[in-house]
């Protein structure tokens, strides 16, 4: 079987009975088995469950009960989404034995669309990181260069798709955690508008910023997956009923008249020259296809990271209080009293980056500092949102890089947290403003590493970015990662 098929292509072959669900599932499970020692994209692989489910789904397809484009297609889920009865760790020691009693709404929706879950993917612990190196279960490697990081925090999902271990995966994006690893791994990832996809069952990092989205090989897959997982959920007060959710209708290869803005302030100091060139070339392609492309000043770009780290850390410090050794998860072996149990459990159960953010978040919310930090950050967030609102008065789509560089070497960024945070400069403001964004490959640097292009649109206007991304995609060639090519896998 050709592992390089997109999810929608595989779905078609299954529908046409060219390939069975069990065959497809086995092929990907074998692919995982062959590659995992080197990639480590998964925390949990559920071979038995997946094969059983594959048979069941085949029956449903044969009976005409599931008919969508993803019916029978295997998928991997980032390990911060709950699946009833399946180990869900957030790549943390503190949840090393946790099996949820319910399934995340987005995952349930995929299941209803006939998805076959093959396992849970590795991530930065509690989604805190940009490299997938903070995982308790070891770092994930970039399939383009095993000495490099896949990005993060959804590095497992992005690497698994790039390495053809699975046709598509779900990730989550709080400050770039879908878009940046997609960019580093040469795949396509989409962060929907805040509220588009239910967060029920997503183990929260920064609740006002988190959003689940697809990571796949191309824009068509992303549109199909988003159609399956989006929608208002009664279990998530912040999920929204919105129109414009027929995403596949935007796959038109027509950008005539689409107004695209390029923020000048995204192209200053710190941006790698090769990345810059590839992104500008992509803009040119869209212009040639009939889009109106123009540069402009977005403003406030340098304030997004400080505001983001205050808000995300504050929310995380509260969201992660529930991990206390009482109801689920890890509990320290020996303790003298209640508070000693709390402290030892949490100190042993969380890794350094998580502790760093919990400490920062607790501090900025503490008495005497709340206004100076947290409220200041929320006011900055309002200003950043206004800056985007102004831009979207003139443009339908904002175009820029996903990250200042291509994938970094393993261990390169962990030593200096602030340096690592600076890598999020193009992605975090999108979460602060609640906007939709897509990341797709737009070229390769001199090391052969993929370069990511980011497109943004107004709230709930995912269709404009799908339209632009799809048009661009038609004019570029998809490359398989070096890892797979070299080994003949």
């Amino acid at each position: 079987m050709d592992l390089n098929l997109t999810a929608v292509e595989l779905g078609k072959k299954i529908k046409n009975k060219e390939i069975s669900v069990v065959e497809a599932t086995s092929a990907y499970l074998d692919s995982i088995e062959a590659k995992e020692k080197e990639i480590n994209a998964f925390v949990t692989i559920d071979r038995e469950g997946a094969l059983k489910r594959a048979e069941e789904v085949q029956g449903l397809i044969d009976a005409g009960k599931v008919t969508g484009p993803l019916a029978g297609v295997p998928v991997a889920i980032k390990d911060n989404m709950c699946i009833d009865g399946m180990l869900t760790t957030c790549s943390s020691k503190i949840l090393s034995n946790f099996k949820p009693t319910f399934t995340a709404t987005a995952v349930e929706k995929l299941q209803a669309a006939g998805a076959v879950i093959v396992g849970k993917t590795n991530m930065d612990e509690f989604a805190m990181g940009s490299t997938t190196e903070t995982s308790f279960y070891g770092e994930t490697k970039n399939p383009w260069d095993l000495a490099r990081v896949p990005g993060g925090s959804s590095g497992g999902s992005a690497a698994a798709v790039a390495a053809e271990e699975v046709p598509y995966a779900l990730g989550s994006d709080t400050g770039g955690s879908i878009r940046q690893p997609a960019g580093f791994c040469g795949v396509t990832g989409m962060k929907p508008t805040y509220g588009r996809v239910s967060r029920y069952g997503l183990i929260a990092y920064g609740s006002s910023l988190d959003q689940i989205g697809p990571i796949a090989k191309d824009v068509t897959d992303c549109a199909a997956i988003l159609e399956a997982i989006s929608g208002k959920d009664d279990k998530d007060s912040t999920s929204v009923k919105e129109t414009g959710d027929d995403f596949m209708a935007a796959l038109t290869d027509d950008v005539k008249g689409l107004r695209i803005g390029i923020p000048r302030d995204y192209f200053g100091e710190g941006l790698d020259a090769e990345v810059k060139a590839a992104v500008m070339a992509a803009a040119k392609v869209l212009e040639e296809k009939g889009a109106e492309v123009e540069e402009f000043d977005l403003s406030l770009v340098e304030y997004a990271i400080p505001a983001y780290y205050i808000i995300a850390s504050a929310e995380a410090s509260s969201n992660l209080e529930r991990f206390d050794g009482v109801k689920y998860g890890y509990r320290t072996a020996e303790f003298t009293d209640l508070h000693n149990m709390y402290k030892k459990t949490r100190s042993e159960g969380f890794g350094p980056e998580v502790k760093r953010r919990i400490m920062l978040g607790s501090f900025v919310l503490s008495s005497g500092y709340f206004d100076a930090y947290y409220m200041k950050a929320l006011r900055t967030k309002a200003l950043i949102k206004q800056a985007f609102d102004r831009a979207f008065e003139k443009y339908d789509v904002i175009l820029g890089p996903v990250a200042p560089t291509t994938a970094l070497k393993l261990g390169e960024s962990l030593s200096d947290p602030i340096k690592m945070y600076l890598g999020d400069v193009y992605t975090v403001s999108v979460n602060l403003a609640g906007l939709p964004g897509i990341s797709l490959p737009c070229g390769y640097d001199s090391n052969g590493l993929p370069i990511g292009l980011q497109l943004l649109a107004r709230h709930f206007d995912e269709k404009s970015i799908i339209r632009a991304a799809y048009a661009f995609e038609q004019s570029r060639e998809y490359k398989r990662p070096a890892f797979a090519v070299e080994r003949g896998l």
């Binding site: 989404m81 319910f102 929260a204 609740s207 007060s237 912040t238 410090s317 509260s318 008495s367």
Partner: protein, 476 residues
């Protein structure tokens, strides 16, 4: 000369709202289930779970706010209050700090004929915690989350009270108001109403407030009164000894009648409140407010006036009957079944009150139905039973809510109205008591009372007293 002190008291009153489900999930709020049988991922703080607000909680909170003359916050929000404790499953409590649903209210109280307003600073909505049970065998604690997520409102008063009597009048006012609304049963002993007392003292005439303490674990009006007196004395002793009152939370032990500071290094009391990002704002429209205003019931003062006017009840009786919603409800329901209001009032004021006192019950604990009280009154109106029998039957109704007609029938308690049977018994009584008969005939009118009593005794209390009198006089 010793200084004269004034006690300054403010109250934080928690009231459990009488909704069917919890504030943020579809679990039942029913009392008494086995541990953790009314729980779900939301109210046990499972990772990935999210809260969704129960609309009825907002309705009830607004109703209480309107009834206590508050301004309703038209755009209110929930915040997280962060602190670690095992009964708090997320280790943050969803509450309201920055935009509480109600503000700036007041209620009128009356103590020894003097009326006074007590200001309400704010009312906010929040979730209750679970319950901790001490396990003596293992010297550990067991957590039951059945109460976790039960909706609460916290009513925060201004520091406007100056005595235990005022505190109790204020609590009683809140309790009847909230009961009338059907927003809660407000039982202190079961914890559906809980009061924390903030108390400070200052010299009479001083402008500044003294340092206050917060007293917790007060489970009855009596405990509240005792704790206030005790804390007042403790603070005066400290000041007189030249020491300072420390701002702290204290726990009252009602059996030992003293309080102790709840302090620990691990309890920093820095709750790091911030807006809960999992919940969206509540916007309260004019229409919504009007809808709730339109459903507000007749409150105690209006009812009391109406009972006096419409039913001609004395003020005292009207006051007692409206003192709890339960009594007023039974009163009105019984009247609705065509019973005479004065007679109903009489049964509630005399026999019901006597039995409540005897059995150490609160009016809220009454279980008998209006229907059976109405039937009992009907039986006495029909002279089917006499008053002695009626009291006996009422005790049975009070205890078991029996059907009085059926009971009287089964036990053969019906008044004997059969003249033949009465005449035969009376003839025997006359024959057996020649001395009394002679006394009566010699003009001692009182002697007849003895003969009536003897007849009733012979008839086991079931004789119609009017007929007995009449036949006796005739035969004598």
């Amino acid at each position: 000369m010793s200084k004269v002190y004034e006690t300054v008291i403010g109250l934080e009153v928690h009231v459990e709202l009488a909704t069917k489900t919890k504030i943020f999930c579809g679990c039942s709020t029913a009392f008494g289930g086995a541990p953790n049988t009314h729980t779900c991922p939301v109210c046990t703080g499972m990772p990935g779970s999210l809260p969704v607000l129960n609309k009825e909680v907002v309705n009830k909170a607004i109703a209480v706010g309107l009834a206590t003359n508050c301004t309703i916050t038209r755009n209110c929000k929930f915040d997280r209050k962060n602190y670690f404790y095992p009964d708090n499953p997320q280790n943050y409590q969803i509450s309201q700090l920055y935009y509480p649903i109600c503000r700036d209210g007041k209620v009128e109280i009356e103590v020894e004929g003097k009326k006074k307003y007590i200001g309400i600073h704010e009312i906010h909505m929040e979730e209750d915690a679970g319950k901790l049970i001490h396990d003596a065998y293992t010297d550990s604690s067991l957590v039951d989350f059945n109460r976790s997520g039960v909706p609460l409102i916290e009513i925060v008063s201004e520091p406007d009270m100056r005595s235990a009597d005022e505190v109790i009048a204020y609590l009683d006012k809140l309790r009847t108001t909230i009961q009338y609304l059907g927003a809660s049963d407000c039982k202190l002993n079961e914890g559906s109403m809980r009061a924390d007392v903030n108390l400070s003292i200052r010299e009479v005439g001083a402008e500044e407030y003294g340092t206050r303490t917060e007293m917790k674990n007060l489970n009855s009006f009596k405990a509240i009164a005792r704790a206030i007196e005790n804390e007042r004395e403790r603070q005066i002793d400290l000041l007189e000894a030249g020491k300072e009152v420390v701002q702290e939370t204290r726990r009252w032990d009602d059996t030992k009648e003293y309080s102790y500071a709840m302090r620990s290094k691990e309890d920093a009391q820095d709750y790091r409140y911030f807006p809960d990002p999992d919940l969206v704002p509540i916007v309260i429209s004019d229409e919504w407010l009007e809808e709730i205003r339109g459903k507000q019931p007749e409150f105690r003062e209006e009812k009391k006036a109406r009972y006096q006017e419409e039913y001609g009840l004395p003020e005292y009786d009207a006051d007692i009957l409206t003192g709890t919603k339960k009594l007023a409800d039974i009163f009105e329901e019984t009247i609705a079944l065509n019973a005479n209001p004065k007679k109903v009032s009489n049964w509630l004021m005399v026999e019901t009150m006597r039995l409540l006192k005897e059995k150490e019950m609160e009016p809220e604990d009454i279980t008998f139905s209006a229907a059976n009280l109405a039937k009992l009154i009907q039986l006495t109106d029909d002279q089917a039973i006499n008053s002695t029998v009626a009291k006996e039957v009422f005790e049975k109704i009070f205890a078991e809510d029996i059907d009085p007609a059926q009971y009287v029938e089964e036990k053969g308690l019906k008044t004997v109205n059969d003249e033949g049977a009465l005449r035969a018994t009376i003839e025997q009584v006359i024959a057996d008591n020649p001395q009394s008969v002679a006394d009566y005939r010699n003009g001692k009118e009182k002697a007849i009372g003895f003969l009536v009593g003897q007849t009733m005794k012979a008839m086991k209390g079931k004789a119609n007293p009017g007929m007995v009198n009449q036949i006796l006089k005739e035969l004598l």
